[in-house]
Structure formats: C-alpha cells, structure tokens
C-alpha cells in the first residue's frame, strides 16, 4: 500500500462568529460558550483528500476514532491551515469482506503557529465483490 503525500489545505473558511453560531445551532449545544472543541472538524478537506488518494469507497467508510489535542487558542476571524498525513494503514482480508484501517494525523496552524493536532482512525469494510 502506498502512502500518499501530505495534504495541505486551508479550506478557505474563516472562523467567523456566523460559522461558530451555525455549528452550535446544528449541534444544538446548550452549554458551550466559545468556539466548540469539535469545530475543527470543519477543516477536514485535507484529510478527505488523503482518503480520496487512497481510493477509499466512501459508502463503506466509518469514522472509528477522533482525538484532538489543543495547543493554542482558536480565535475568531482567523483561517486555520490543516496539514494531514497518513500515519498507518493496514488491510485485513476475510472471506466476505476486506477491512482497511487508516490512521491520519492533522496539524492545524493559525498564523504559522501550531494550535491543535487531530488524530483520526477510519475503517473501510468493503464486501469482497466491491473491493
């Protein structure tokens, strides 16, 4: 299995109050006051680009784990830049399905400062005839 190159993307989305309000409304959060801890999920284009590079069949893709490490403040009116890479991938073949485990890491930068790290694990369970 080949490892695709790192993907860099700013997604072109500024952390605006309107974006935060829309996210809070969609999650129906009642107790969060600032920028929600999972708001960084908006900046996943670089990660999705990696999955496309790996020719993942999205219909069989499941998000298995997500971790965020917060290293600096997420601030309004800034545009984070995400740099994603594949850190591990494994494949397990069974009689009826092929299971792929893909781990990615994403560094989030604001004004060139690392403000957060994201770690994701995906599982793709494809029936053998589709794989």
């Amino acid at each position: 299995m080949e490892t695709p190159p790192n993907m860099i993307d700013s997604d072109g989305i500024t952390i605006s109050q309107a974006e935060v309000d829309r996210f809070v409304a969609a999650t129906r959060s009642e107790h969060l006051r600032g920028i929600p801890p999972t708001f960084l999920t908006i900046y996943r284009k670089s990660e999705f680009d990696l999955l496309n590079e790996l020719q993942v069949n999205w219909r069989y893709l499941l998000h298995a784990e997500q971790e965020y490490e917060y290293l600096g403040p997420l601030t309004l009116n800034k545009e984070p830049v995400a740099v994603s890479k594949v850190v591990d991938q494994k494949e397990r073949r069974r009689r009826e399905e092929v299971m792929r485990f893909i781990k990615t890491e994403t560094d989030f930068f604001i004004d060139d400062k690392l403000v957060a790290k994201g770690r994701s694990t995906f599982v793709v369970r494809e029936p053998v005839e589709a794989a």
Binding site: A26, P36, R44, A64, Y68, E69
Partner: protein
C-alpha cells in the same frame, strides 16, 4: 473532583433535520448521514446514521456543562465511535471522573448510550483549571 465521581448527564435525540444541518455546517456531506435511499440501498444500513462527530459534539456539550469554559481548559479530547447511532434515538451522555493528577489535570471518561443501553461512543477528556 474525586475519582469515580459521577457527573451530570444530558440526553440528546438527533433528528434527520439535525443531521442535514450538521452535514452543511461541518461540511461532512457523506450521503450515509443524509440520504435515506443511499444509506439503505448502497451502504446496506437500516437508515441514515448519526455523524460520529455529532456524537462527539454532544459529549463536548456534556463536558462544558460539568466544566464551565470560564473555569476550565480542555487540553485533549478523544472519542471512539463504537456502534452506529440512528436518528430519533435518544443518546444518554454520561461522564465520570477517572483520574485527578498532581498538577490538577482531571481525566474524565465520557460515553453515549442508545435506548438499548449499548455504548455508541465513548472517550476520554483531559481538563485543567484556568
């Protein structure tokens, strides 16, 4: 905060409309979350499924209830999406203090459970006083 302390819980019942709103807001428009026909016919699921990240957002709200943001800083937050969750099913979100470190970092185990009592998401959060 004491190890083993059971914190306040919340219940959230995601709807199909909410999944659509979340898909737009989060830019995760995978049709398994928003297209009933696709979920059933193409992905072999009984219906659309809740975004794992939406479940994680419910747990983030639970943390904010128990650890107000003006007093606490969230340092690390990990979630494992153990079982798919479906719209219109109530998710009971719970939190228990797992560890209190010498430097004041509180480790909290969080989990979400469907009406059958199955854990759909769990994880751990590390918080520090400001």
């Amino acid at each position: 905060m004491e190890v083993g302390q059971v914190l306040q819980s919340i219940t959230r019942t995601p709807t199909r409309e909410q999944l659509k709103a979340y898909a737009e807001s989060s830019r995760d428009r995978n049709p398994i979350h928003i297209d009933e026909a696709f979920a059933k016919e193409k992905a072999g699921l009984p219906s659309v499924i809740v975004h794992g990240m939406l479940s994680m957002a419910f747990l983030a709200d639970l943390l904010a209830l128990n650890f107000p943001e003006d007093e606490w800083v969230l340092c690390r937050f990990k979630a494992r999406f153990r079982k798919v969750a479906f719209p219109d099913e109530a998710l009971r979100c719970e939190a228990v203090v797992r560890e209190v470190d010498g430097d004041g970092t509180v480790q909290v185990f969080v989990s979400a459970h469907n009406p059958a009592g199955e854990t759909t998401t769990d994880g751990v959060a590390y918080l520090k006083r400001k």
